[in-house]
């Protein structure tokens, strides 16, 4: 890039000294990214290993950390498949069917993007909590939702809902209905058409949505924090555990958990990049 700019400037007859500008721009960008992202991230790794490898492994064995990992994975296992199924169904309804309230559904799907996660959590508390609308009914049947995993799952599902539908809708609109109609003229029923024709055409955008859903589900803090009560060893996911351990001056343990979360993000990032290459799309910010 620099060489290219230099060459162009030489052709244009501009003095060589002016080519410092691109260098300066690159320098500023690197410095900024370094200060804001790379150094803090690297510090997490350094801190996690501050008691050496054995300390790190010992920390990994922490019972509460393991419980947090288990609960985080549970959140993912519950919310990702549900949101994928819902996302596909909603995407098909919106991209392929005409029905009253279609634009309303489209807006509602976007709601979790625009609502603060804390408010989302609060909504769940107000509905299912002891003083909430359904509170008395749940209590009399001995069903616990708030301060327990079902509430956390609800919060996680809420915040990670839009991704699959949002990725699949434009893809469905882009591929059109020709191939699906062709399949039906060849004798395929709706189900066969879906599995053999539509799904292969939308699988990359769907997987992209699944990756984003997973990242959001595993990393969510605000909404889950409100509904869970953050009880150590019981209702703490990894993000909650990181905060709690840090507050309790278990710094290394906190950084160990943070490193795990960071690792998940890294895997997500790589998958996202791979899928972006597959779907031929530009990197986007959500």
């Amino acid at each position: 890039m620099v060489a290219f700019v230099k060459a162009r400037r030489q052709i244009a007859g501009v003095k060589e000294s002016k080519s410092l500008l691109p260098l300066a721009l690159i320098g500023i960008s690197l410095l900024y990214v370094g200060l804001i992202i790379i150094i803090p991230a690297a510090n997490v790794a350094v801190q996690a290993f501050s008691e050496g490898l054995s300390g790190f492994i010992k920390n990994l064995g922490d019972r509460n950390l393991q419980e947090a990992i288990r609960l985080t994975l549970l959140m993912g296992v519950i919310s990702v498949p549900l949101n994928t199924l819902f996302g596909l169904a909603a995407a098909f309804a919106i991209a392929r069917k005409q029905f009253p309230g279609k634009s309303l559904l489209l807006s509602v799907i976007d709601l979790p993007f625009s609502i603060s996660p804390v408010v989302a959590g609060l909504m769940i508390v107000l509905l299912y909590g002891r003083n909430g609308w359904l509170g008395p009914l749940l209590e009399s049947n001995d069903i616990k939702i708030i301060f327990a995993w079902p509430g956390m799952a609800l919060a996680t599902i809420f915040v990670s809902m839009p991704f699959v539908a949002r990725e699949v809708i434009p893809n469905l609109e882009e591929i059109g209905t020709d191939a699906e109609e062709a399949a039906s003229t060849l004798g395929a029923n709706g189900w066969q058409t879906f599995w053999r024709v539509t799904l292969p055409s939308i699988k990359w955008s769907m997987l992209y949505g699944v990756v984003l859903t997973t990242a959001r589900a595993l990393g969510e803090f605000g909404a889950v924090s409100v509904v869970s009560g953050s009880i150590t060893g019981k209702t703490q996911t990894l993000p909650l555990f990181v905060e709690e351990a840090y507050k309790q001056y278990q710094t290394t343990l906190s950084y160990t958990a943070a490193l795990l979360l960071g690792g998940i993000s890294l895997v997500t990032l790589v998958l996202k990049a791979l899928l972006e290459a597959r779907t031929g799309r530009q990197s986007r910010i959500h």
Binding site: A179, E181, A182, S184, T185, G187, R196, P200, S201
Partner: protein
């Protein structure tokens, strides 16, 4: 009522509306088994909608559709035993050519050997032997459309429907492919209906042409009938170039033409041009000469200011040595007005 077995497709009083737009209105159409029929019309004339109604891709608001004698109005697309070819091929991009062609066969649970043999047979039929393992993206437009055709023919449909099959191809490939389609039809003999907005294409390929306009059938007939005896002003002006003149025009006075209809239609090649005054001609002046290849177009201005477009063969043009601004004499060889037909 039970329909004649010899009738491949029968459309009876079919109408279809999209919102406030009347796409197809009270259409009746009979297509004989084994014939090749073109639905011809401008865009928005309802020709594609009619084809999709026959296929079952759209449901008619009223009327009935019979395929090979059975009432198919309420049958779903997949039960109609039709083959459909789309303008933009609609191939399955994630499947190879071979898998595309095999798609319908595999749904019918044929044995693997039978499917393989049939696919090879079809690859040969559409002249794509050896390209079976390619993906659609690795083929040219013309090749893709032949794959689409092979895929539709694989399941041995009783009726083959093609929606602007050559519309997305460039001029040269389009010409090759349409004469190829004609030959293929002579081999396979499946009842075929194709949609086109290109009158030349319809003329070249079809046994019968159905001219459509504003959702209605204007005329049904062989290419020659449609050209020589157009039933309506629309057909006259849609099939081939035409001059539309008021019946008061100078050119008709010498010939003693008398018609109550205000508009008279005159094909460019039905205008005779002479250098010297001969009976029944009127004087005119050459405005412009355009060379169209095998014929020459002369734009002539009558004394009343009316401009006519005339076509004459190259040889005739050379004999006459026409030039702009030259004084000539013109005579209509044949003219037409509607609804009464007459000749001079």
């Amino acid at each position: 009522m039970p329909k004649d077995k010899a009738v491949g497709i029968q459309v009876s009083q079919v109408s279809k509306q999209f919102g406030s737009f009347q796409a197809v209105k009270d259409v009746d159409l009979t297509v004989e088994t084994g014939s090749l029929v073109a639905l011809l019309g401008p865009s928005g004339s309802g020709k594609s909608t009619l084809l999709r109604l026959i296929a079952g891709l759209e449901q008619p608001d009223s009327g009935r559709i019979f395929l090979t004698g059975r009432d198919a109005t309420n049958e779903s697309v997949r039960d109609r035993q039709i083959g459909f070819v789309f303008q933009h091929y609609a191939l399955f991009k994630h499947l190879t050519v071979r898998k595309n062609i095999a798609f319908g066969l595999e749904l019918r649970k044929h044995t693997k050997e039978k499917v393989r043999a049939r696919v090879e047979e079809l690859l040969e039929l559409v002249q794509l032997t050896g390209l079976g393992d390619r993906y659609p993206s690795q083929l040219s437009g013309g090749q893709r459309q032949r794959v689409a055709l092979a895929r539709a023919l694989a399941v041995q449909p009783q009726v083959l429907l093609l929606d602007e099959p050559f519309g997305a191809l460039d001029a040269k490939v389009r010409k090759d492919l349409r004469s190829w389609l004609r030959k293929l039809h002579d081999e396979v003999h499946v009842t075929t209906v194709f949609v086109t907005h290109d009158q030349e294409e319809a003329m070249e390929v079809a046994d019968q042409i159905v001219v459509m306009n504003h959702g209605k059938v204007e005329q049904i007939g062989s290419p020659a009938e449609i050209y020589d005896n157009p039933a309506t002003p629309f057909v006259m002006s849609f099939i081939g170039p035409v001059n539309v003149l008021p019946n008061s025009s100078h050119i008709f006075q010498a010939g003693g033409l008398d018609t109550p209809h205000p508009e008279v239609f005159l094909r460019p090649h039905d205008i005779e041009i002479a250098i010297d005054p001969i009976p029944e001609t009127v004087p005119a002046r050459i405005d412009r000469i355009v060379h169209l290849g095998w014929e020459v177009q002369a734009e002539v201005r009558l004394e009343d200011g009316q401009v006519l477009v005339a076509h004459l063969p190259r040889d005739r043009y050379r004999d006459l040595q026409l030039e702009p601004e030259q004084q000539v004499f013109v005579r209509p060889k044949q003219a037409r007005s509607f609804p009464l037909n007459y000749s001079i």
